[in-house]
Amino acid sequence: MTNDPVLDAELAAFCQSGVSITAGTRGAGLVPNATRALGCRVSADRRRVTVFILAAQSEGAMADIGANGAIAVVFSYPPTHRTVQLKAGDAVLGALEAGDAERIARYREAFRESLVGIGYGRGLPDTLLAGPLEDCVAVSFTPSAAFVQTPGPGAGKPLGGAR
């Protein structure tokens, strides 16, 4: 096993761009939950990924993360359908850090641009991502694998960098 991070620089930039982000979790009976994220932060060494979720919309997912830390996060860029999924077993909940508020604001802009660029009205991105900053929770994890999920026969294959 090498020590290279799962995310290379290009993928880290992709995950932090105007992509649609959804996190999946699971509870005790292997019953899944899902919630939308409002942006992403990748650590300088690209080993730690953090996404932001709204507590009011994430009751099930937060309980699951607290109980077992298993997570799958899918990042998809609507204009090209390029989709990547990260998996980890060590997700934890935390508070926002310095700079996260600006990061979320930048993400909202970028996501809006992605959708408006392909013909959706502003109402869709603005409503999907609406919610008070005080309600935002950080979910941090160390990706153990990344998979291509762009629709097509190649979907589900591990990315080159996946370990």
């Binding site: 999946g24 019953v31 298993a70 799958a72 998996k87 629709p151 589900g156």
Partner: protein
């Protein structure tokens, strides 16, 4: 907030905003995927499109619980559904409905040739939760569809004969639903095809044009006896020239002289089977140049109207012949003068040409041939539906065949050709050959 039925959130299943599906592998690893298609099955079931052998599918086969998040395209309200996988269907009405719709979604999202339906995965909906969060105000309703259905059904009940019924049906769907382009096609069950008997909103009437069962949106709706609805322009189900040429290459004999009416820029299409007493009678077809013009509620509305139309067709067909007088009417209308119309009859396929121009073939061609032959032999111009039904020269394909509709088709074609011969109703179950020029019958045998 918990909801009881998928009915209430069907607008979120039109594929405008992709749904997300969370599943979990038996080892506890979650997975999230975007879905291009979720289909409403009934208040307690939905079906998801299975297109690829992917992690989602592997997971639900091993651990059948899933969490689906769907978004209302107008209000952006989100719902989370807890699903349990039941089975996969790879043929039949549900599969065909999803396959056609997926063709539109694929083409609209630049995925034509990538998206292909392998199966319809049917899930039971065990819980529906409304996610808290901001929503947009709902757009004002266009009108109450239930009120529109009521008005349509009321209009249909006033039609006194089949011709009036077809015209009324197309007028009513325009007036009550704003559907400006529509067709009524009747089934020729023996010939495994449908023929157009009435149309509205197209440059050419297309009356007499044919579609084989199983081809295009109309043909699939007839074969599967289920509504087929597509929300975006796509090539796979286009029922125009390409579909017809493909059918001909495969040796399906088809009306080729009369083009099918259709919008060049059609984006939304809805084909609804017309049924009565367990039999398929035809298809009601609507199209529109707007994307996503027809939703689930429009489909329900047209299915209801088509049900009423089916019953009316059945009843009017039965009464037309019951009421007909047994004896034929008086002959002796003075024969018109002028240059005779050359009525050319090709025995090979019973096609009729008037002065060298195509009129009709098949059953309607045989009917016209019989009428002309009798007129030339005896001067008769009055006929009854009943005698035509029993006439061995007409060779109706089956007892249940709709002779009345064939006569409507023939009279419509004669009126459009305007070559000196017309057919008129002269009473219930009776018709009259009306001539403004003399006729000359030319028999053409073989090739």
């Amino acid at each position: 907030m918990k909801l009881a039925s998928v009915d209430a959130i069907r607008a979120s299943l039109e594929g405008v905003i992709p749904a997300t599906m969370a599943t979990c592998a038996p080892d506890g690893t979650p997975n999230v995927a975007y879905l291009s298609q979720v289909e409403y099955v009934d208040p307690d079931h939905v079906a998801l499109s299975w297109q690829f052998f992917n992690k989602t599918r592997e997971n639900v086969l091993a651990n059948p619980v899933a969490r689906l998040t769907i978004v209302d395209p107008d209000t952006i309200a989100r719902h989370c559904l807890l699903l349990r996988y039941l089975r996969t269907e790879t043929a039949g009405p549900l599969f065909e409905r999803m396959k056609a719709k997926l063709a539109g979604i694929a083409s609209h999202s630049g995925m034509a040739g990538v998206f292909r339906l392998r199966g319809s995965d049917v899930y039971r909906v065990e819980e529906i939760l409304r996610l808290p969060g901001e929503v947009l105000p709902a757009p004002p309703a266009r009108r109450s569809l239930l009120a529109a259905v009521r008005a349509c059904v009321q209009r249909l009940s006033g039609a006194g004969d089949l011709q009036a019924l077809f015209e009324t049906a197309l007028e009513a769907v325009e007036a009550e639903f704003g559907i400006r382009h529509a067709l009524v096609l009747l089934a020729d069950a023996a010939g495994h095809r449908l023929y157009t008997v009435a149309s509205r909103g197209y440059p050419e009437s297309g009356v007499g044009s044919e579609i084989p069962f199983g081809r295009g949106i109309v043909g699939v709706a007839a074969r599967e006896r289920t509504p087929i609805r597509v929300g975006h322009a796509q090539a796979e189900y286009a029922y125009g020239r390409a579909m017809r040429e493909a059918a001909l290459r495969e040796g399906i004999a088809l009306e080729t002289e009369i083009p099918l009416p259709g919008l060049a820029d059609s984006r939304s299409q809805l084909a609804v089977p017309i049924e009565a007493f367990g039999r398929l009678l035809g298809v009601l077809f609507a199209d529109s140049a707007e994307d996503l013009r027809f939703g689930y509620d429009d489909e329900d509305a047209l299915v209801t109207v088509a049900g009423s139309l089916g019953t009316a067709i059945h009843v009017l067909q039965a009464t037309a012949e019951a009421d007909a007088a047994a004896e034929s009417g008086p002959a002796g209308v003075p024969a018109p003068g002028g240059t005779p119309v050359a009525v050319r009859h090709f025995a090979e396929n019973d096609s009729i040409f008037l002065d060298g121009e195509y009129l009709i073939k098949g059953v309607a061609g045989r009917i016209f041939h019989a009428l002309v032959a009798d007129f030339l032999a005896t001067g008769r111009t009055e006929f009854t539906n009943r005698e035509l039904r029993l006439d061995p020269r007409v060779k109706l394909p089956e007892i249940g065949d709709n002779l009345e509709a064939r006569l409507i088709l023939l009279s419509r074609r004669l009126a459009e050709r305007d070559a000196g011969a017309r057919l008129e109703k002269s009473g219930r179950g009776r018709l009259r050959l009306v001539l403004t020029r003399p006729l000359r019958l030319v028999e053409v045998k073989g090739e």
